[in-house]
């Protein structure tokens, strides 16, 4: 039992936040300009000038650790943190190659993956609504290797979580993320430009707090 990843979409269909935990197949970084800044450092496109450094520092982190608390200051949008991170000592060349191969085996670039996730969620939501004939919401689907859960807020934010197929109902967790970290560090954070269509909602406190919440779950192993 485990938890793979969390996506948050706003009502304009754009992905505003992404975090992952036990993913073996990481998405490729997004193409420049196709995702908003401050969604997630891991999948944000890297500046060409310092690609090598950023790659090294990104891949040097464990894939399970998507936190970067190197700055120590509270910021609203850590767009440039990845670039300001002091370059870490380069890992031995073999491990770097292996890690890069591991990362490149991922199928889709992140922006395309996010669009697919949103498309599936939206189509299923409409389908369930149509089939039930009431305002019933789609909650989850399961395949042989993962399960996708959806929680939609009244304001149109969609919280999507991918977990192990054996986990049961996890919507309450998504609700907890909304009621806890999201309200506290995004909605009540005057520096986060919500609904701007220009920035994601990633900030250090939100990320740390979501991470703590998810790691504390009994299904997280």
């Amino acid at each position: 039992m485990t938890i793979y990843s969390l996506y948050i979409f706003d009502r304009h269909c754009t992905c505003v936040y992404y975090q992952d935990w036990h993913r073996t197949k990481r998405p490729k970084p997004a193409v420049e300009g196709s995702i908003l800044p401050a969604v997630s450092q891991v999948i944000s496109p890297v500046a060409i000038s310092d690609t090598a450094t950023v790659n090294a520092s990104t891949f040097n982190n464990s894939p399970r650790n998507t936190l970067s608390s190197s700055t120590g200051i509270v910021i609203a949008t850590n767009e440039s943190v990845a670039r300001s991170t002091p370059p870490l000592p380069p890992p031995s060349s073999t491990t770097l190659v292996q890690q890069q191969q591991g990362a490149s085996s991922a199928g889709l670039p992140f922006d395309e993956e996010a669009k697919l996730v949103y498309g599936v969620v939206l189509s299923l939501r409409n389908m369930v609504k149509k089939l039930s004939g009431r305002d019933e919401s789609f909650t989850s689907y399961r395949t042989s290797t993962y399960r996708l859960h959806l929680y939609e807020t009244i304001s149109g934010y969609k919280f999507v979580m991918l977990t192990d197929p054996k986990t049961d109902y996890l919507r309450f967790v998504l609700r907890q993320i909304y009621a806890g970290p999201f309200i506290e560090y995004v909605v009540r954070n005057p520096l986060v430009k919500m609904d701007s269509k220009e920035y994601g909602i990633d900030n250090e406190y939100f990320r740390t707090s979501v991470d703590r919440l998810v790691r504390g779950l009994s299904v997280f192993a």
Binding site: D20, V120, L131, Y141, R142, T143, T145, L148
Partner: protein, 135 residues
């Protein structure tokens, strides 16, 4: 415990059989069912590509708040979809039996054109015996 309906979707995404049993879901027109079946066919293909680990099958169970769709994909690409209440535990078993009936009453029928809508009294009556009114 209720079975609301059964769909059979051919490998091109066309709805070749659709039947309602117990009430509880909206009554849609046959055109609307055709559109939904096509959508499901597309979604099913995408869900297998979104796997965070290794290769995956397409969606097997899709859940709403009061009902679920259980999908059985055969090796030939035909999809059997059963719409049931959430607590229904025998959906997979029923789909397996529907597949057997399909093989017997549809595939062995010399008057049936593959990939075309199923109009066979034998199939209908066997499904009625298996599922009944769906309650």
């Amino acid at each position: 415990m209720a079975i609301h309906g059964l769909w059979i979707i051919n490998k091109a995404g066309g709805l070749v059989y659709q039947r309602n049993f117990a009430d509880g879901l909206a009554q849609l027109t046959s055109n609307e069912y055709l559109v939904l079946a096509g959508t499901l066919h597309g979604i099913h293909a995408i869900t297998s590509r979104l796997s965070p680990t290794g290769s995956s099958s397409g969606a097997e169970v899709i859940e709403g708040e009061t009902f679920k769709l259980t999908i059985h994909l055969t090796l030939t690409g035909t999809k059997f979809v059963l719409l049931t209440s959430l607590v229904e535990t025998t959906a997979e078993v029923i789909l397996q039996k529907v597949y057997e009936i399909y093989a017997d009453a549809v595939m062995k029928n010399p008057f049936h054109t593959p990939e075309m809508p199923i109009r066979s009294e034998g199939f209908d009556s066997k499904i009625t015996t298996l599922i009944g009114s769906g309650q």
